[in-house]
Symmetry: C2
Subunit: 92 residues, 2 copies
């Protein structure tokens, strides 16, 4: 599945997450993502733009409606993952 292929790549989620509460600039995102390399960050940004999840505005990068949609879908999954990860430390 293409979606997971994309999301699985480094920083994709980070970008999505950081964009979820407002537009950010390139340098801004870079800083917030634990100082990811410009190379990779730009690559992700490009990819996410291509698939129409984010877009460039005058304020920087921002989530498209589709992007927000996905983010909302991902959120509960994230919750579940957190619980599951917790269980994991207790069980395993």
């Amino acid at each position: 599945m293409v979606l997971f292929d994309l999301l699985g790549r480094r920083w994709s989620m980070g970008v999505l997450w950081n964009l979820s509460d407002g537009p950010r600039t390139f340098r801004d995102l870079q800083t917030r993502c634990g100082s990811a390399s410009p190379t990779v960050l730009n690559t992700r940004l490009k990819e996410l733009r291509i698939v129409g999840l984010i877009e460039k505005t005058e304020k920087g990068y921002a989530l498209t409606p589709k992007g927000e949609e996905l983010y909302k879908l991902l959120d509960p999954l994230g919750d579940w993952a957190a619980i599951w990860k917790n269980d994991l430390s207790n069980t395993a």
Copy 2:
């Protein structure tokens, strides 16, 4: 996120999907997954077992309750991804 890291790897989804309708054996899974290498398949199986998403039964490998839970969570996301991917070809 660990979850996506795992799911993004080759065959993870395939395994989950194939297991969703009953237990499968090693060779069985291998065949159904487009003849993935034993190496990789075994690695995935091991990883999925470690995180408690699947388990070994006398009938082969099977989804744990957690595994099914995840599968159900993933399903709608998959739907969405399909639509989104469709939009993509029209828009981009």
